[in-house]
């Protein structure tokens, strides 16, 4: 039995989802559903911990149906569980536990659908992170999508969720189609679907246009999920209207898994086939543009969840840039950053859920100065805002510090100011919102004037004037604590270092999958020590930005007008680009795909 843990994180939640649907008679007893789904998620956490522990010793390969490679060719599907995969799976299950804890008091579920869909979503996240098979990845990508579209449209009483769900579903289906075309190309070239096999089959052959285009198509597909420019437009529409627990998972792990897939495919399949330079410069460029656009848009929002969604876009850009450095240490930082960021973003979304619980609104202007009695939530919210900006010793600080150090070492020192700017923008936007909402600071902000989109406020919860339930604050505090631990504990950095070392060990990965040779445990010495300075500067910058908004100082008066007229045009342009119309999104998608495909054809 002990060797059979790998399928359980996927199979158990799938089974439980079907069981809950069958237990429909219990629908009057929500607690049964709550307890069962929570227990399932906790069990998955335990499985993931076990898998992580084992993968640290050696990468685990699990062949479904005992179809181990036949004459060296993988005819079956394999889970390949290295520390990076296990780490992300663990993050996904932890966030699910937090989301389910939060939903205990959150809303009246419609029959069993909410719990069923959350468990299916959990299973898809697990499968996507753990699999080593390209088509299996696609299948879990689609399962993730289908569960997520339905969750996004959960509140059919409003048009926001319906619109958001529609945009989300169309864009992600197109992404899935690109993945499928990429799979078709790779299958034609190599005759296999296992990542390690495809990599081994392509190795040493002359590079063809098909190989490059296949990589770009796969990347485009997963970058749609990863929400980077110009494929990110669906994200704010969807994440801002989904129920809070779903948003926690969307922004905390789903988006990052898309980026992780790009990195995984690049390292295992293409890193010794395709020249590195074009990929690197394209993805670094995309990352920086995403980082800036997301950060700027976050500052312009008054709908809190939309603000957080744009900050996710911005951090996606940072994560993509981290992966695009194509280096072990940068990868270590990026993995750490994903963990740190996921926990913080989850905590922030839970905070917005608490606001909905009390005030039925997430509009910064409406809530201004009305939430002063929520002292604990307010304090945690501001702390999370600082952590988002990279305050030491949160995981975001450690991760970003390591990426920055690696960037400097590789001669990409110019990236560092951009990273800091992104943190300042997103952290500042969150702090500004928190300062206004919880502490009544400042006047109504002069730049964010877009109409609030309705969505969640409606039927999600009854308005409550009592104290915030402990079960809402608990997951928020725990998530912040996890992010704190991820940055502070040297062990977490050790795990990330080992995960990165194993991730970049392409030949070791191929050997362990195809030949069953145990991947030698690489020395996990992490030399990188993130400096305190960078984190403090970013956090101070965020505070300064928030102060600029909130203080009755230089920004209110004649100077305001001048600044306003100065930024008016770019702001208007930026807003108009994010038009909310699916036709525009598809045009952007086509432009992005065409550009990357052309790059592939021209460079290889």
């Amino acid at each position: 039995m002990t060797m059979n843990i790998p399928p359980l994180p996927v199979v158990l939640p799938l089974f439980m989802a079907a069981l809950l649907a069958a237990l429909e008679q219990l629908r009057s007893r929500h607690r049964v559903l709550d307890v069962l789904s929570l227990l399932t998620a906790l069990a998955v956490v335990i499985f993931d911990l076990l898998l992580l522990q084992r993968s640290l010793a050696a990468t685990q390969v699990y062949w479904f149906g005992d179809w181990s490679p036949m004459h060296g060719f993988p005819v079956g599907i394999a889970f390949v569980i290295d520390p990076a995969a296990a780490l992300l799976a663990l993050l996904a299950s932890l966030l699910t536990v937090a989301a389910l804890l939060f939903s205990w008091h959150h809303f009246l579920a419609v029959r069993t659908y909410y719990h069923t869909l959350m468990l299916l979503f959990l299973a898809s996240l697990q499968g996507f992170a753990l699999t080593g098979d390209l088509f299996n990845m696609f299948v879990f990508f689609e399962l993730m999508g289908v569960a997520a579209y339905a969750l996004t449209g959960y509140k059919i009483e409003e048009s926001g969720p319906l619109e958001g769900g529609l945009n989300f579903a169309v864009m992600n289906s197109l992404g899935g189609l690109m993945v499928l075309l990429g799979i078709g190309l790779l299958y034609a070239m190599t005759g296999g679907l296992n990542l390690a096999w495809i990599g081994a089959a392509l190795q040493g052959k002359p590079v063809t246009a098909a190989g490059g285009v296949a990589f770009m198509l796969l990347s485009v597909g997963f970058l749609v999920k990863g929400a980077v420019f110009p494929f990110h437009f669906w994200l704010p529409d969807a994440h801002s209207v989904a129920p809070t627990p779903a948003s926690v998972l969307f922004s905390g792990i789903m988006v990052q898994l898309g980026l992780y897939a790009v990195a995984r495919i690049y390292w295992v399949v293409f890193s010794d086939v395709l020249a590195q330079a074009p990929v690197q410069s394209a993805f670094l460029g995309i990352g920086i543009v995403t980082l800036l656009a997301g950060g700027a848009m976050a500052c312009l929002q008054r709908h809190l969840k939309r603000l957080l969604a744009y900050s996710t876009v911005s951090h996606s850009g940072l994560i993509l840039a981290g992966f695009a450095l194509h280096e072990r240490q940068a990868l270590e930082g990026t993995l750490l950053y994903i963990v740190g960021h996921g926990c913080i973003k989850g905590a922030l979304f839970i905070a917005t859920g608490i606001l909905v619980y009390h005030f039925r609104s997430v509009d910064e202007k409406q809530l201004h100065d009305r939430c002063c009695r929520l002292k604990i939530t307010g304090a945690l919210f501001l702390l999370a805002g600082l952590a988002l900006a990279g305050l030491p010793p949160f995981g975001t600080w450690a991760g970003k510090g390591i990426i920055e150090e690696s960037a400097r070492g590789l001669g990409y020192g110019w990236l560092v100011p951009f990273f800091t700017l992104g943190s300042v923008l997103t952290g500042g936007a969150v702090l500004r919102a928190g300062g206004g909402i919880f502490f009544g600071l400042g006047h109504l902000d002069p730049f964010s004037s877009s109409a609030p989109a309705s969505g969640e406020e409606g039927a999600e919860a009854e308005r409550s004037s009592g104290p915030t339930p402990v079960l809402m604050l608990l997951p928020m505090a725990l998530l912040l604590l996890s992010s704190f631990g991820a940055g502070l504990l040297p062990q977490s950095q050790q795990v990330a270092a080992l995960a990165a070392a194993r991730f970049v060990d392409r030949d070791g990965y191929r050997d362990v999958v195809l030949a069953g040779e145990r991947q030698p445990a690489s020395p996990a010495v992490s030399e990188a020590r993130p400096g305190l300075g960078g984190g403090l500067i970013a956090a101070a910058g965020a505070v300064a930005l928030a102060t600029l908004y909130l203080a009755p100082g230089p920004l209110h008066g004649r100077a305001t007008k001048r600044i306003k007229s100065l930024v008016k045009e770019p702001v208007t342009l930026l807003r108009r680009v994010h038009s909310g119309y699916i036709g525009d999104y598809v045009v952007w998608f086509t432009v992005g795909t065409a550009a990357l495909t052309l790059l592939a054809v021209l460079s290889w």
Binding site: F135, V139, E142, G145, V146, Y149, A150, G153, I156, E157, E158, S159, G160, L162, E163, G164, G165, L166, A169, V170, S173, L174, G176, L177, L180, L181, I183, G184, L185, Y187, A188, L193, P236, D237, S240, V241, M297, L300, Q301, R306, S450, A451, A453, S454, G455, L574, R575, R576, H578, S579, G580, Y581, I582, G583, V586, V587, F589, T590
Partner: protein, 114 residues
């Protein structure tokens, strides 16, 4: 002739994308998405075709016959199921939105701007 299936793949993809990019009706949008997705099926099946190959079923046929690739057919089957489910969800979303706002036009007053 050899290039024809691949040209059709490209054509279906581009036409489907064009349909989505210019559509003013959500139902039409779903159809355009289905058209685009069929390019995926066609690519998989073309990739697995072998000249003069028969269906990969050995039943009463002597095993010496050339057969096309069964793997891509299984993949296509999976993808068709995926396409059908996504269409169902999209139609459900479009139907409810029509009830909310009385329109199927995705361009009319998207609630989310900027």
């Amino acid at each position: 002739m050899n290039a024809l299936p691949f040209l059709v793949v490209v054509w279906l993809l581009v036409v489907g994308l064009y349909g989505i990019a210019t559509c003013r009706n959500s139902i039409y949008l779903v159809s355009a998405l289905v058209v685009a997705q069929s390019s995926g099926y066609l690519l998989l099946l073309s990739v697995g075709y072998v000249n003069k190959g028969t269906a990969p079923i050995t039943g009463d046929i002597p095993g010496t016959r050339i057969m096309v690739d069964p793997v891509v057919q299984a993949l296509t089957l999976t993808d068709i199921v995926v396409g059908a489910t996504v269409s169902a969800l999209l139609l459900a979303l479009a139907l409810q939105r029509h009830k909310r706002s009385g329109t199927l036009d995705p361009k009319s007053e998207p609630p989310m701007r900027g």
